[in-house]
């Protein structure tokens, strides 16, 4: 029989160790975010376009445009994330850090909302704290949290919506909670369309408890969302519908979905099992909460991850939901334990479960005075992620990933080299990434994945684009992944010649110059002119 003093010592030691581990993950996250705030170029595909959308809004212009006309650019996302960046533009300038800060802060708010909800339901400090920190410790949240992308802002609004809706039947301020929850759902949907799963989860919860209020709330939400939708479509001459709805119908590969489900489960095993267990408990023995329903419906978002262009980011809502419900499950285990012995076991089990989960999500830089020795101690110093043209000094339990690593001095030098080409080019630059053209003060030309999506759906007239390419009106073409419609790539191949390729951030960037400017000269000599 273990004495109560020993048990107390064990409990304190486990609590301290678990908190230290998850605060360690928070530190890694902050280091990564700080590195991205300093990086002026695109880190992930599309970040520069999100910033450009914010710039257009700040000028009073719509980003939903005719892609067939120069500059062949349109946004394929709803506006709210971009509008949140606009007030930061006077502070940051036209820098992608503005959007990265918005997204990073959104993840912190999400973590705090999770902690708040857990504490509201079960009390205490340790489990609510770990509930919030476990969200930030996820590989998925870590990698895309500080990017200038709208996904984590959507997750923030979704989380806030569920936290409010969970109290819609509060005797004193239930109405306020319901209205705020509906407002958050509206914000989530107009941040990214995928929030529809959380909308269904939230309204399903209200429906289970109060059919009339659910129908009224759902109708009100649909009417308001519909008016906004209709207004946007009218204001943009139908380009809103084409770019945000029709263009997002992509090819689907169920094998990608299955792979990502397996990866998500492997990385977040304990949280997923606890969340599933909690859902089962509420379904058969208790009453379904908004949180469990949210977890269930978030799997629907994960199911869409097989769409072309989608990825593990589609599981971040499920990560938030499972972090929250796993914490609630732990609280339920604790409150349900009968007798001193059972309570002792469960009290020790809770931090142990978090500790067992922690290494499954391992991700950290592997170089530097702090992370280098730490990576060696953890045995991952030589298990690095391989990019296209460089080995990242970074380990991630996910295996291969394009995100998460820190930038190097070589990356900065490469970025400046590419930027020099862009500045030197005469006329607009046909670029697969927007930050180079934005930083060079040139117009943003093309949103390649949007063009490809529209082309595949038979919604893009490429004639003007190809005509300009054939006339070699663009001073330069910059490729990374070459996500353009095939006829466009063919035209570029006939009129532009590769002059350089630069390894930056693990990817090869290919610089192509108009053939008429090369005129028999060596590519670099022609590219640099008479300098």
């Amino acid at each position: 029989m273990i004495s109560s003093r020993v048990l107390k010592f064990l409990y304190i030691a486990l609590i301290a160790l678990t908190t230290l581990v998850y605060l360690g993950y928070l530190l890694v996250y902050v280091v990564y975010a700080a590195a991205l705030f300093r990086w002026p170029f695109d880190y992930d595909q599309g970040e520069g376009f999100e910033l450009y959308d914010a710039i257009l809004y700040s000028r009073g212009e719509w980003p939903y445009r005719d892609n067939a006309a120069f500059p062949f650019y349109a946004s394929n996302y709803p506006p709210l994330f971009h509008l949140l960046i606009v007030p930061l533009l006077p502070l940051f300038g036209a820098q992608v850090a503005a959007g990265r800060v918005v997204s990073f802060v959104a993840t912190l708010i999400t973590a705090m909302a999770i902690a708040f909800a857990v504490r509201r339901e079960i009390g205490g400090r340790f489990i609510p704290l770990l509930g919030g920190l476990s969200f930030l410790a996820s590989n998925y949240v870590y990698q895309i949290g500080p990017l200038c992308r709208m996904h984590m802002t959507m997750v923030m609004f979704e989380t806030l919506a569920i936290v409010f809706i969970a109290r819609f039947d509060h005797p004193e301020n239930g109405r306020r909670h319901l209205l705020l929850g509906l407002l958050m759902l509206l914000c989530a949907g107009y941040t990214k369309q995928m929030a529809v799963f959380t909308v269904v989860a939230a309204l399903s919860y209200v429906f289970l408890r109060d059919v009339r209020r659910a129908l009224a709330a759902g109708t009100a939400l649909a009417v308001v969302a519909g008016i906004i939708f209709w207004g946007l479509n009218i204001a943009t001459d139908g380009q809103w519908w084409i770019n945000v709805i029709q263009a997002n119908v992509n090819e689907f590969d169920y094998r990608q979905t299955l792979f990502l489900f397996g990866q998500w489960f492997r990385l977040h095993t304990i949280f997923v099992l606890l969340a599933v267990g909690y859902l089962g408990y509420e379904l058969f023995w208790g009453r379904l909460s908004a949180y469990s329903l949210w977890f269930l419906f978030s799997l629907g978002a994960g199911a869409l991850s097989g769409k072309w262009g989608a990825g593990f980011g589609y599981f971040t809502t499920a990560v938030a939901a499972s972090s929250l419900t796993a914490a609630l499950a732990m609280g339920r285990l604790l409150s349900g334990a009968r007798g001193a012995a059972a309570k002792s076991v469960v009290t020790l089990l809770i931090p142990l479960l978090y500790l067992i989960q922690a290494p499954r999500m391992l991700h950290l830089p592997t170089s530097g005075p702090v992370f280098g020795p730490l990576a060696r101690v953890l045995g991952v110093a030589d298990r690095l992620v391989q990019g296209d043209c460089v080995t990242f000094q970074y380990h991630d339990a996910m295996g291969y990933t394009q995100l998460g690593h820190l930038l190097s001095a070589e990356d900065y030098a490469a970025g400046e080299r590419i930027l020099e080409y862009v500045r030197m080019a005469e006329g607009p630059v046909f670029s697969e990434e927007a930050m180079f053209t934005l930083l060079a003060g040139k117009p943003v030309v093309t949103n390649p994945t949007q063009l490809l999506n529209l082309y595949k759906n038979g919604l893009l007239d490429t004639s003007e684009m190809i005509a300009r390419i054939n006339r070699q009106e663009f001073g330069m073409v910059l490729f990374r992944a070459q996500f353009y419609p095939p006829p466009v790539l063919e035209a570029i191949g006939q009129n532009y010649q590769p002059v350089d390729h630069v390894c930056m951030n693990g990817f090869y960037y290919r610089i192509l110059w108009p053939r008429h400017k090369l005129g028999g000269k060596a590519p670099l000599e022609a590219a640099y002119g008479d300098e």
């Binding site: 289970l208 408890r209 109060d210 059919v211 169920y254 379904l283 058969f284 009453r287």
Partner: protein, 65 residues
Amino acid sequence: MITKRQLGIFVTALGVLAIVGIVAVDLIGAGEWGGFGPLQRIGVGLGLLAILVGWVLIRLGDRPA
């Protein structure tokens, strides 16, 4: 307020519809039985799970869902 029985009926109906729909798509699309692909097997599996869950919920009666 929705009861577990009512929720169970709804979930069971969803499961049945899913299975019927998956089979019907195969029959209507090809005009003859073409066999099940992996996606259809997954869909039928989820449909059967829904029917099982729904059946248990129905037996739980009028308790609030």
